[in-house]
Amino acid sequence: MSGPDETGAPAAGGAAQTSPPPAAPGPAQETREEHGGGVRTGRRIRQARELGILLALVLLVAVTALVNPGFLSGQSVRDLLLGATLLTILAVGQSMVLITRSVDLSVGSVMGLSAFAVGMMFVSFPGLPTPVVMAAGVLVGTVCGVVNGVLVAAARVPALVVTLGTLYMFRGIDFWWASGRQINAADMPDGFLGLSRVTLLGMPLPAVVALAVVLAAGWYLRNYRSGRELYAVGSEPAAARLVGIPVDRRVFMPFVANGSLAGLAGVLYASRFGTLDATVGTGLELEVVAAAVVGGVAIFGGSGTVYGAALGALLLSTIDAALPMLQVGSFWQQAVVGLLILVSIGLDRLLALRAARRLRGGGTRGA
C-alpha cells in the first residue's frame, strides 16, 4: 500500500519539473496526520484513480448496451476484447517506459515490422513450427527495443527524439523489406490464424495473453525492488543515482520489455488479421500513449500503473467499437474520440486534485 499510484497528477507544466508544488499546505498538524487516517486516505485515492476510468468504461458500455443490446452479445464482447488486446499490450509496455520518464514512439513501427517478419517467415520457411515463428516475431520486437534502449540509456539522449527517429527507421526497414509485397491469410498456417478463435474460459486466447501481461507487469512493478526503482528513476533521476540505483539499466530495461511486447502485439496482429503489408501499425504510437495517459500514467514519469493503462486501452477500444453502435455518424466519430480523450484526462486530473487537496487538508494551488 503505497507509492506513486496515489499521488497527484503530473506537474501542471509541461517541463519535467519535479519540485514539490510550493503550496497547498495546511497547518502542520494536518500534514503530519495520524497513520491510520493516512493509510486509509491513500488507499481511497489510489482506488479512485483507477475507479474513475473504470466508471467511465462501465458507463459507456451501459449506454451503448441500452441503445443497442447487440453490444453485449457473446460475439460482440469477444470482438471487443480481441480488439482491445493489441492496444492493451502496447499500453502496458508503453507505461513502463513512461514511468521511467521516457517515451517510445516507435511502437507502431516495431509492431508492424514484427508482424511482417512473422508473415515472411511463414512464406519463406513454410515448414517452421508455429511457436518458433511466434517466438521469432517477439524477438524482432525485442531487438528493436534493445536498439531504442541502447540509444536512450547508453547515449543518454532524449527518448522522444530517438524513438521518433527509430519510428521512421523501423518503418523504412519494413517498407524496404516488404517492397510492396502483401502476405495473405493463405500464406499462413490455419493453426496460427485460428489462435484468435481459441477461447479459454470464454475469453479469446489473445485477450487471455493480454490479461496475463497486464497482471505480470503490474505485479512486478509493485512488488519488486527493480520495479519500484523504475518509479524512482522516473520520479527524480538525480536522486535515483544518489541512492545507488543503476539508472541506465533501469531506463534500458523498459525499452526492451516494450519492444518485446510490441513484438508480441505484432505476432497477435498477424494471427488475427491475416493480411500483412508494410503499413501495419502506422500511426499507432499516439493512440498507445493516449491510452496510457488516459489510464493515469504520468507523461513525465514516476506515477501511474499498468492496470490504469490497460483500462485506458480498453476504454479507447470500447469507444471505437461503441460509436458505430451508437449511430454516431462516421464523420463525427473521430471528433467524439478526441473529446472523450480530453474528458478522460480532465476527469483524471480532477480526481487527482481532489485527492491532493484531501491529503494536504488545504486548498490547491493554481497551475
Binding site: 517492397s179 493463405a186 467499437a321
Partner: protein, 334 residues
C-alpha cells in the same frame, strides 16, 4: 465585393496539352522515360499494376521507373511529380490521391514537356492528357449491384464498406450504385449504411464488425475496395454471421482465395491491375510519340491488349471487370 464562388474565375489553370496533329504512324522512340507514380508505394494493388507498366515499357524499349510516397497523400505526391518533371520524365503515369491537389504540379510537368497519364484514380481532366479507367464507373457499379442482388436473393438490407471518405473513384461508384439500386428490379433492396475503413485493415475490420452488430437484419455488404473486402471477409469468416450475410465487392484473387474457397464469399470482381498499368504505359508512350493527341475517337495499339479507342475527355476504358468465384479463382495470381 470580394472574391466569391460565383465569380466564374475558372478554377483551371489552362491546359498544357499539345496542339499538334496526331500522326498514327509515328515511331515510338527508344529510351522513353516512363515513370509510374502510384497513390502509394507498398500498396500491393499498385505493385501489381506497376509491374504491368514495367512489362509494357520493356516491350517499348523505354526506361521504367516507379516512385511514390510511403503514405497515400496528395502533398507528397506533388513532391514526386515535381521531382519527375525536374528529372525530365517523358511520361508520368499516376493515380491521384486528390484530383485537384496534384493538378497544379501536373500542369507544370506538362508545360515542361511531360505527358501525363492517370490511371485507377483520375485527376481533374484539364490537368492530364489521358485517363485509363479500369472499367467504366457504370460497369463497376452495375456488376457489384448485380452480384449482391443475386447473393441475397433480390431483397434485404445492404450496406457499403468504402475506403476513405474522400476517395474519388469510391464515391463515384457509391453514387452510381445507389442510382442503380433505384431501378425497379432492385426495389426490395435497401441501403442502410455507408461506413469507411480508410483502406486500413484494422479499421475496415472494426467497421465491418460494427455494421453487423448495428444492423441485425443486414443481408449483404458491398465493399468496393480491396483492403476493405479482405478485412470484411476475414471478420465474416470468423464470426457467427458467416453464411448468413453476403459479401461482395472488389478484391484481388490472392487475398480472397481462402474466403471464396471456404464459402464466406461467393463472388467478387476486379479488373486485372497489371493490364491497367500495361495499357497506361502504351497510351502514354503513344501520346508522347505523337501517335495520338488525346482527342476523342483516336485509336492506338496497346501491345498484347490490342486496339483501344479514346473516349470523351481523354478517357480510355480497359474493359469489363472480371468476376471471380470458386471455379475460376485458381487461374489468377495477383
Amino acid at each position: 465585393g470580394g472574391t466569391t464562388r460565383g465569380d466564374g474565375d475558372g478554377s483551371g489553370s489552362g491546359s498544357g496539352g499539345s496542339e499538334a496533329e496526331a500522326d498514327p504512324n509515328a515511331e515510338i522512340p527508344e529510351g522513353l522515360k516512363i515513370s509510374f507514380l502510384p497513390k502509394q508505394l507498398n500498396n500491393p494493388y499498385f505493385t501489381v499494376a506497376d509491374s504491368g507498366g514495367k512489362e509494357a515499357v520493356e516491350e517499348l524499349g523505354g526506361e521504367f521507373k516507379e516512385v511514390g510516397p510511403s503514405e497515400a497523400n496528395a502533398s507528397s505526391q506533388v513532391s514526386y511529380i515535381n521531382t519527375l518533371s525536374q528529372q525530365g520524365s517523358d511520361v508520368i503515369v499516376t493515380a491521384a490521391n486528390d484530383p485537384n491537389a496534384v493538378c497544379g504540379a501536373l500542369n507544370q510537368a506538362r508545360q515542361a514537356g511531360s505527358v501525363v497519364v492517370t490511371f485507377d484514380s483520375d485527376a481533374s481532366p484539364e490537368c492530364r492528357d489521358l485517363f485509363i479507367s479500369q472499367a467504366s464507373a457504370e460497369g463497376i457499379a452495375t456488376i457489384q449491384v448485380e452480384m449482391i442482388a443475386e447473393q441475397i436473393g433480390g431483397e434485404g438490407e445492404i450496406a457499403f464498406l468504402s475506403a476513405t471518405p474522400n476517395a474519388t473513384n469510391q464515391n463515384a461508384w457509391l453514387k452510381l450504385m445507389e442510382e442503380e439500386l433505384k431501378k425497379d428490379e432492385y426495389s426490395g433492396i435497401e441501403v442502410v449504411d455507408t461506413v469507411y475503413g480508410n483502406d486500413d485493415d484494422q479499421k475496415s475490420f472494426n467497421e465491418m464488425q460494427g455494421l453487423l452488430q448495428t444492423h441485425p437484419d443486414l443481408a449483404g455488404v458491398i465493399s468496393p475496395t480491396t483492403v476493405g473486402l479482405a478485412a470484411a471477409a476475414r471478420y465474416l469468416g470468423s464470426s457467427d454471421y458467416k453464411g448468413e450475410v453476403a459479401l461482395t465487392g472488389l478484391g484481388t484473387p490472392n487475398q480472397m482465395r481462402e474466403y471464396v474457397k471456404d464459402g464466406t464469399v461467393e463472388e467478387f470482381a476486379l479488373w486485372k491491375p497489371s493490364d491497367l498499368g500495361y495499357l497506361a504505359a502504351y497510351a502514354g508512350a503513344s501520346q508522347s510519340a505523337g501517335r495520338i493527341t488525346g482527342e476523342k475517337g483516336q485509336t492506338f495499339k496497346a501491345g498484347r491488349l490490342g486496339e483501344y479507342e479514346i473516349g470523351a475527355d481523354g478517357e480510355i476504358v480497359l474493359g469489363p471487370p472480371t468476376v471471380f468465384n470458386k471455379d475460376n479463382i485458381d487461374d489468377f495470381d495477383f
